[in-house]
């Protein structure tokens, strides 16, 4: 069992508030990912949970026990660091057994747990080596092994893959997902890489400026972002934004006049919108199509294109000067400066009010 409750948590350094009041519930066996741009406080939040930083205010509760002021070792958590933080002069075996030795565990039990962890992570042949004799991926596995032998209630990962090369990162990502299933463990994972967040998480926590912007499953964040920040942060290439005004509001929809030169009717209940209100329309590259006919046509000028083979990401500029990205078939590449006609997929448009909050959530839910 591992249920973590965070209540109104704050943290300041020298009068500067880094974490500005966080409330979060993490359920047993959940894989939770904290994601956000650098400096958003995600690592600090993890270190507060681990007990490596002192809390300025609020409460952390693990399985009904208040752990806010407990020292890190007493919290029953294990952490994997970005630089692995292996003990350089100890063999892999001693790195794994160090915590158990400090806890004066039974020798046979230590040996058994180390063997178990080595088997799960395929570290058997490396046990007698020193960390400097290991590759990056192997060091990473030792660091995870060091967490596993302690059998903690929650695993904490602080950007564990960011020191690996791209190919290894993909491989370790899959191994982490497998490990989560095998160990049936609760994991909290910090990353700035939204691909890691989307692929690994049961629940993503998007942080920005020390606050939670949105909590939800990866698909919820993708399909119904709560605000413009989440909408822009999740999804690659990022969502395009077009400024516009509310043209008309009635019972089954609201018409939006987009500055870029089109008018579309969105199936929104017209919640709290008045004619003339400034709004922002969000549309992802995959929901824009090159088309001569359609419900909402817009003429744009092609900028540069990025051809990936399967797809081409074409950067365009609307007549109102706003940048957009369009995903089109891989065999098409518009010339620089070419005029294109785009149609918007009305079902996948997102509408945000002047404060950047999404209007009429959810536009569309995917099961």
């Amino acid at each position: 069992m591992a249920e973590l409750k965070i209540r109104n948590l704050t943290k300041g350094f020298d009068g500067l508030e880094i974490i500005k009041g966080i409330d979060l519930d993490i359920r047993d066996r959940e894989f939770v990912v904290f994601v956000g741009p650098s400096g958003c406080g995600k690592s600090t939040l993890l270190r507060l949970i681990a007990g490596l930083e002192d809390v300025s205010g609020g409460q952390i509760e693990l399985d009904g026990r208040d752990i806010t002021d407990l020292p890190p070792a007493a919290r029953d958590l294990a952490m994997v660091f970005q630089t692995y933080a292996l003990y350089p002069h100890m063999s892999v075996r001693r790195n794994l057994s160090f915590a158990l030795e400090l806890a004066r565990a039974d020798k046979q039990e230590i040996a058994r747990k180390v063997e178990d962890a080595a088997r799960i992570l395929e570290l058997g042949p490396l046990l007698e080596r020193k960390p400097r004799q290991l590759s990056g991926g192997q060091r990473q596995r030792v660091a995870i092994g060091r967490a596993i032998v302690r059998n903690p209630r929650i695993f904490l990962f602080d950007e564990p893959l960011s020191n690996l090369d791209a190919a290894l990162r993909v491989q370790m990502r899959l191994e982490l997902a497998r490990l989560h299933q095998e160990l049936k463990a609760t994991m909290i994972y910090v990353t700035h890489d939204q691909v890691e967040a989307m692929t690994l998480a049961d629940k993503v926590v998007v942080l920005n400026g020390g606050r939670i912007e949105q909590v939800g499953s990866p698909m919820t964040l993708y399909h119904s972002p709560a605000n413009m920040f989440v909408a822009a942060f999740i999804g690659t290439p990022r969502m395009g934004f077009l400024k516009g005004r509310v043209g008309a509001v009635n019972a089954d929809g609201c018409a939006v006049e987009v500055d870029a030169g089109c008018r579309l009717v969105l199936p929104l209940g017209g919640a709290a919108l008045a004619v003339g209100d400034p709004v922002t329309l969000g549309i992802r590259p995959e929901h824009l199509n090159r088309s001569e006919t359609g419900p909402c046509l817009m003429e744009v000028t092609a900028d540069v294109s990025e051809r990936l083979g399967s797809d081409t990401y074409c950067h365009v500029r609307t007549d109102s000067g706003e940048p957009l990205t369009v995903r089109i078939r891989g065999d098409f590449s518009p010339r620089y400066g070419e005029r294109l006609r785009l149609s918007l997929d009305v079902d996948h448009c997102h509408l945000f009010d002047r404060d950047g909050q999404a209007i009429g959530q959810p536009l569309q839910q995917v099961a």
């Binding site: 070792a73 952490m79 660091f81 630089t83 350089p88 915590a99 400090l102 400097r132």
Partner: protein, 312 residues
């Protein structure tokens, strides 16, 4: 300086190769290294050769002109001199004790400085380092007249305050006094090196250890000390080199006495050359000191060299 045959040199026709060789001999490379080579010859080889020469002749300043070749007689007399065995033992004791004191206290003080956050830490650091910048003669005089002096010294005042008889440190514990003075000078060096090394210890390792349940003592024992192995080796090596030749401290305080109680090898050689005017025997002693220093260097490199080349 054989630059004529380079195995990797491209094969060219014979005259061209000869021309290239001539170029190299006259070329700027040879010309540019010559000042340093000349300096080395002048400052190292010439004195060494002269010392070797002096050690084999009778050469006493009191008997000018009487410079016969005497073979190894000077070595024999130096090794059987009443001061040689105490001088050797004192040298070893001095080097060993100062190394022990400066490394152990150095590690502890550096660890305390690293662990504690207190106002004025920067100032304390500077104060701790500053004895290193005081020249040996001056620091020895400070210790002799302000601290150890049985009448006007601070230690004497302290003893009197508690009603005890003041100790005449330099007369009663001459070698211990010298050890204390030299340690006071070299402890800052150890602190400086170890403090810097301690700052390079990965903070995440410490945090990982904290999560693993290690307290401050366990972190010190299992992480900090192993991390310091290399800088400690550096401190030991460098201090050994300088401690083998401690002279000014002895000269200004005890003059090697009473008897030979605080005479080390360097002081013994000085004594032979400039107090007994026997340059020949002093030269023999100097060569023996060179041999001893080399033995110490070889032992140290064997013991600690692995520590220096091993990578983490």
């Amino acid at each position: 300086m054989n630059t004529t045959t380079l195995p990797t040199a491209p094969r060219t026709t014979a005259p061209a190769a000869r021309a290239a060789r001539a170029m190299r001999r006259l070329g700027p490379g040879w010309f540019l290294v010559s000042p340093s080579v000349a300096l080395l010859l002048l400052w190292m080889l010439v004195p060494l050769a002269m010392t070797v020469y002096f050690s084999t002749i009778r050469y006493n300043l009191l008997y000018p002109g009487d410079n016969d070749f005497v073979g190894f007689e000077n070595f024999y007399y130096f090794l059987t001199d009443a001061g040689f065995v105490p001088g050797m033992l004192n040298t070893l004791l001095l080097v060993g004790s100062v190394l022990l004191i400066s490394v152990v206290l150095g590690v502890l003080i550096a660890a305390l400085l690293e662990a504690a956050e207190f106002p004025g830490r920067g100032l304390v650091r500077v104060l701790l380092i500053s004895p290193f910048f005081i020249m040996p003669t001056v620091s020895a005089l400070i210790w002799k007249n302000l601290l150890f002096h049985p009448v006007s010294g601070i230690l004497a005042a302290l003893w009197k305050f508690f009603g005890a008889r003041p100790i005449d440190w330099l007369a009663e514990y001459p070698l211990l006094s010298v050890i204390i003075i030299v340690s006071w000078q070299w402890l800052p060096f150890a602190i400086l090196i170890l403090m810097t090394a301690m700052q390079s210890l990965d903070q995440e390792q410490k945090e990982a250890a904290r999560l693993d349940g290690a307290g401050p003592l366990a972190i010190f024992w299992h992480l900090t000390l192993p991390h310091l192995a290399r800088p400690i080796a550096v401190v030991v090596m460098i201090e050994t080199i300088f401690l083998l030749s401690v002279f000014a401290e002895i000269f200004t305080t005890t003059s090697g006495g009473p008897g030979y109680a605080s005479t080390n090898l360097a002081y013994l050689i000085y004594n032979q050359a400039l107090l007994q005017f026997d340059v020949g025997m002093a030269s023999a002693g100097g060569l023996i000191a060179v041999v001893i220093a080399n033995i110490a260097a070889i032992v140290l490199v064997r013991m600690l060299g692995k520590n220096l080349t091993e990578k983490y």
